[in-house]
Symmetry: C2
DNA sequence: ATTATCTATAGATCTATAGATAATGC
DNA sequence: ATTATCTATAGATCTATAGATAATGC
């Protein structure tokens, strides 16, 4: 501990002068504004104004808005890949599945602007698009690895083909859940999406693998799943007539 | 036939003067440009320029861009609801499932700009948002009805709970498939999404219900599904290293 | 000397409207 | 008379840069 205290101050050059560098503040404010209002509705002017700095200053730290987004995506990616790891020293347990999902959904929440405008972001920044594709492939293979682990642990009874399909379906449901909520479930204008509502996504992902649960674990897993069944108010409403 | 020929000219007042009214041309051009470039990248100026009319003229026919989108959504909705109907005079057959999917995916393709920017469109137009939510509920109940029909026909072995979950998962995969393709699968900048690539979505949707197929129909349905397995080039690529 | 920040501004759009003019339908 | 169309333009942004000024680190 003492050693760290001595070493830390000199390890970086920015951390001394101010608690938080302007660059960091820009990233942080951008993330917040993007999440709240959507990337499309937030200009570099807005970000600068929100921070009480000049637009020129912002452009000193970032070449343009894309550069900010690129940096934020890096944070997001790092966080997700950190979560999606299969422990090497033990078998997977039912709770692991839950932890993966909770971690990932938390990440999705904290960077929720990303998937909202993902297509536009990627199509207008080839470099980001390339990174994202690689990120997807890595995630896909990690998720497959997790499903294989659940198979080895005797929780799921799946073939390799099932695993491939399950992994892809999981990816799509997870990354689309937010968009789904915002488009279809906000029952009136005022209602906003809470992290809790988001957890309904966990329930939904569980439904994908339910048919593959082994006899032995079916009850445990279903019980786990039920905890996340929000069936929020929206499901009570009868479908609207055409 | 003779009767129709006599009646048609007087049935509407626009169809006489010109083959296509300016209003129609605006809708058509907007759809095309939105699909090709994304709604976000197409301004009312672009639309007017593309049609060789003045911006003023466009605003004479539509209050603003939202009004154009609103009209286009109406077309899309009508088309989808037209497809999602369970025949009352007979049991569902395996091919029905395929027809539903093909019809819906064709609709998604023809209006592909919609789901690309859906969140923004809905959040900036409360009236459209309300319509869309109602549309979702109707679709959801129709899709459940289809699954029930497949159950009655002995093709699926499902509980009511399974049906609810299957319907929602189907909705999400179907409506997100495009976004998924554009974000993750376009392997280089030049490659563009073809209607064929889209059909891979049909395969993916089939995977959702595979575990619920009855012994009797499993082989037939799996054979059907295989026709749509594109496993396009992208799956051949090994996952990128981190 | 280098790094950080500000002011001011050019240039490019976009949306939406006002007001004039042409075309059409009785 | 009514409907359709055009020209021209106001007003609001936004992005990105140039150039001046302040702060910091040796």
């Amino acid at each position: 501990m003492a050693i760290m205290a001595v070493m830390k101050p000199s390890s970086t050059k920015d951390t001394n002068s101010k608690a938080v560098s302007t660059r960091e503040r820009i990233l942080c404010a951008s993330l917040q504004l993007f999440n709240e209002q959507g990337e499309r509705n937030v200009s570099t002017n807005h970000i600068a104004a929100h921070l009480d700095i000049s637009p020129g200053n912002l452009y000193y730290h970032f070449k343009n808005k894309q550069a900010i987004i690129y940096a934020l995506f890096g944070q997001y990616q790092k966080r997700v890949l950190n979560i999606l790891q299969v422990p090497e020293d033990r078998q997977l347990q039912p709770m692991d599945k839950l932890n993966y999902l909770q971690g990932v959904f938390k990440g999705l929440w904290d960077f929720r602007f990303l998937h909202r405008d993902m297509e536009h972001l990627l199509l207008s920044d080839p470099q980001l698009h390339g990174h994202y594709r690689a990120f997807f492939r890595t995630c896909e293979s990690r998720v497959r690895e997790i499903f294989r682990g659940l198979g080895r642990a005797g929780i799921l009874d799946v073939t390799e083909e099932d695993i491939i399909d399950l992994a892809l379906n999981t990816w799509i449901i997870v990354t689309s859940w937010f968009s789904f909520l915002r488009c279809n479930l906000l029952s009136d204008e005022s209602q906003t999406i809470s992290p809790e509502l988001l957890q309904g996504g966990i329930y939904q992902v569980f439904t994908l693998e339910r048919p593959y649960l082994t006899e032995e674990y079916r009850d445990v897993m279903c019980e786990l799943q039920q905890r996340y069944m929000p069936r929020p108010s929206w499901l009570a409403n009868p479908p609207a007539a055409e």
